[in-house]
Amino acid sequence: MSGGTLNLLIGLAMGLNLLALGSSRLPSLIRAMSLQGVFLGVMPLLMEYETLNWRVVAVALATMVGKGVLIPGLLRRAMRAANIEREIEPFISFVPSLLLGAGGTIAAVALARALPLLPEHAGTLLVPGAIASILTGFILLIGRAKAISQVCGYLILENGIYLFGLLLIHSTPLLVESGILLDVTVGVFVIGIIVDRIQRAFDSLDTRKLTTLRE
């Protein structure tokens, strides 16, 4: 049961990637990202349901709460404070980014076939899902102009790295897992503050205006 459900969840997460790429409204982007976070939080429970211990449960719960509730909440607050709803002038507009994302997903599946993986990982979508999420994160980071969209891109990128990390769930100590999670949360805090500062200094969240700071 676990393999099938796991693949289903990863498939959904990959679908959410495309949703994130295609939506111009910031609330739906944040929602896609937070839902992806919750799916990711469930995965360790599915993978380890036979040998559940408090460690895995703690990681899963922390991931679900952090990525599903805490970070999206912070982002929504920043969004409200900055009073923006939409990504209006992206560098890469929505249809091309969708096409890029879809191409990236196909390429990720093809690439995963070519990689020398362990037999127990070969059947799952873990590796293609991870690569696809990382690519999606990069496309968002490169293609969007608003700081909040870029934060979402960064978080999706991080989700991809987390998926890779799941390959090593047996050998990664708890401390590393929680460290990564803490890093992300702190990162989002910092970015929240920076977003606020950008908003106050430039009266906009358009990162293109940061070019005046280049030297």
């Binding site: 990069f138 980071l141 490169i142 990162t207 940061l210 280049r214």
Partner: protein, 649 residues
């Protein structure tokens, strides 16, 4: 006392001078003179004794044990440093005095002590790593001394140019010492002539030390630094600091094996420097710049001697190699003495008139007889005229070259052209100093400042007299200095040591002495005649002009016009001219400026291209975060492709 004790006394005195210089100028002078005297004592005890001084300490600095050594070669340079350093310290007290420069005089005193100390360390250190540290300290102290008068923008520009050039040289030295340490497995320096694999390193050392020595194409920093620094700093820079470059070349061509072509290249560089350096000197209007270019010429003469010695090493003929090297080493002393004297004289003129332009001076001999006399003596020495010291060392170099030419073999093909170019350089040097002396001191004052000049005080005159005395003594009794030079030659190549002075040198000494007696007798007779008969003053021939003015005299450009014409291909003078027109011409102009050809015509365009290329790369740095991430992604994908396609094991 042993050299070691004297050297430690000298170091302690200089450190004390460094500390006290900030507040007490008299204490500083006492400490600096004490340091110079003890250092000189150490150098002389090594030069006159038979053994080198060496000290290995258990104290380690940067992971290397401190290792000091004073042999014949380094003692010669150390003696020069102490003489010029001490004389300059006395000179500076009046020339750069507290009342005229309240802000920079204390700084100047501290950096002066630091410069002497660091150059002393460069000369005694025998470890590559420590040598680099001392070398850097030396470069930095010289930089701050050049910039003493930093309110003036041209001084700051000269300082930066010096620092940049100096570091370009230091990069080569870093490469040289690290490669040497990598190949020998230790930073320790010392004689290693047998390890023939080390020979190619000589080229790197030549480039690195050549920048500091001011060899012709690498001399770009030298004219502006020497012209814009205070005159006592110019004196030690020209007299001693550029000799550190020569020291490096002599030291490491002596300790390491040299490539076969080294003799040819060094002789060629020397001949080029000598001829072109003096050609540039001749075309200058700024008298300190003239002296600076003349230093390029004299470094050229020294390198001709060193190059001939290297040729002798390659072809295994000690007799003429010894003469040429002795000439080169003695010229290090001689040039140090007379060039410091000339810069002190130039400083005295600058102090009295405030201008460095010869076209604004003239007629100073009436108001400044001491400076005139001493500058004339320095000019005779630098032009290589009898009976002073310039001729003695050039004579030795000539002897080496002639013997090489006569002995036949391939070395003759280098020696003959070098001798010819040396002779041409000597003639041009005489012309340059005839021009400088005539423009500054003879004729009538061309401007008001020249008319109201005043003689310098005893504090500036005494060091000039000391150096002039040294020039006279070496000129009249060269034989006394032969053992010292022979000792240094012996340190360079132990097989070449001989204490017997060459016969032509003995002859030259007696001719000089005879000449000096004749000249003094003639001068005394003239003096007496003038006193008995009285002087009759009249106008010079004035070409029939009814009202001649001081501005109708020769200018420095018109004096040098013909010779500058011969060297137009390298001097590339810039001219602006409006000829007088019609029967009643209103206005006519002729302006001429000699650019820093290597700097403005070669290095300038090259660095402009480099800057253009770099600024096109800077366009990648535009501040758009998205593109920066794109660079990262592109880099990642490229790396991935590299691994997938090519690099996969």
């Amino acid at each position: 006392m042993t050299p070691g004790a004297l050297l430690s006394l000298a170091a302690i005195s200089l450190v004390a001078g460094l500390v006290s210089g900030l507040w007490f100028s008299r204490t500083w002078l006492a400490f600096t003179l004490a340091g110079a005297a003890t250092g000189l004592g150490a150098a002389l005890s090594v030069l006159l004794g038979a053994t080198d001084w060496e000290w290995r300490s258990a104290f380690s600095l940067g992971g290397e044990f401190v290792h000091l050594r004073l042999d014949g070669v380094s003692a010669m340079f150390l003696a020069l440093l102490c003489v010029v350093g001490g004389a300059g310290a006395v000179y500076a007290r009046e020339y750069w005095s507290e009342e005229h420069y309240p802000a920079s005089a204390p700084r100047g005193r501290c950096w002066w002590s630091a410069l002497m100390l660091s150059m002393g360390l460069v000369l005694t250190i025998s470890n590559g790593l420590h040598f680099l540290i001392a070398w850097e300290l030396f470069a930095v102290s010289a930089f701050f001394l050049i910039r003493l008068d930093r309110q003036r923008p041209e001084v700051r520009a000269a300082g930066w140019l010096y620092l940049a050039a100096s570091h370009a040289g230091t990069v080569c030295l870093f490469a040289f010492f690290s490669l040497l340490a990598a190949r020998t497995g230790s930073w320790e320096l010392g004689p290693m002539r047998e390890q023939t694999a080390l020979a190619p390193l000589f080229w790197i050392a030549l480039a690195g030390f050549g920048v500091k020595a001011g060899v012709f194409p690498l001399h770009v920093w030298l004219p502006s630094a020497h012209a814009n620094a205070p005159s006592h700093v110019s004196a030690i820079m020209s007299g001693v600091a550029i000799k550190m470059g020569v020291y490096g070349i002599v030291r490491f061509s002596g300790w390491l094996p040299v490539p076969h072509a080294a003799g040819w290249v060094v002789t060629g560089l020397g001949a080029t420097s000598a001829l072109l350096g003096i050609a540039f000197a001749f075309a200058q209007n700024d008298f300190k710049r003239l002296l600076a270019y003349c230093s390029v010429e004299n470094v050229g003469i020294i390198l001709i001697g060193v190059g001939a010695a290297l040729l002798a090493v390659t072809h295994g003929d000690a007799t003429w190699g010894r003469l040429a090297l002795a000439g080169a080493l003695l010229h290090v002393w001689n040039h140090g003495a007379f060039k410091a004297l000339l810069f002190f004289g130039a400083g005295s003129v600058l102090h009295a008139t405030g201008t460095r332009e010869m076209s604004k001076l003239g007629g100073l001999w009436r108001t400044m007889p001491w400076t005139t006399g001493l500058f004339a003596l320095g000019s005779i020495a630098v032009s290589g005229l009898p009976p002073l010291n310039g001729l003695v060392s050039e004579w030795l170099v000539y002897l080496g070259l002639f013997d090489a030419a006569v002995s036949g073999g391939p070395a003759a093909w280098a020696a003959m052209p070098a001798a010819i170019m040396l002779a041409m350089a000597g003639a041009l040097a005489m012309a340059s100093f005839a021009k400088a002396g005539a423009m500054i001191f003879l004729g009538a004052p061309r401007t008001q400042v020249a008319a109201h000049a005043h003689e310098c005080g005893m504090g500036m005159r005494a060091p000039m007299l000391t150096l002039a005395g040294l020039c006279v003594v070496i000129g009249l009794a060269p034989i006394l200095f032969w053992p010292v030079v022979a000792r240094a030659v012996g340190s360079w190549r132990p097989a070449w040591v001989t204490m017997e002075a060459p016969v032509p040198l003995v002859t030259l000494g007696s001719v000089h002495a005879g000449l000096a007696v004749l000249v003094s007798a003639a001068a005394a007779w003239l003096w007496r005649m003038a006193h008995v008969n009285g002087l009759r003053r009249g106008l010079t021939w004035d070409c029939g002009y009814a009202t001649p003015s001081a501005r109708m005299q020769y200018t420095s450009a018109s004096f040098g016009g013909i010779v500058s014409g011969w060297f137009r291909w390298v001097l590339q003078p810039e001219r602006k001219m409006r000829r007088p027109r019609g029967h009643f011409p209103a206005e006519a102009i002729r302006l001429e400026r000699v650019p820093e050809t290597v700097l403005e015509r070669i290095l300038g365009p090259v660095s402009a291209v480099v800057i253009q290329a770099s600024s096109s790369v800077r366009r990648l740095q535009h501040g758009r975060l998205q593109f920066y991430i794109l660079y990262v992604v592109a880099g990642l994908i490229a790396l991935g492709l590299l691994v997938l396609l090519g690099g996969a094991p």
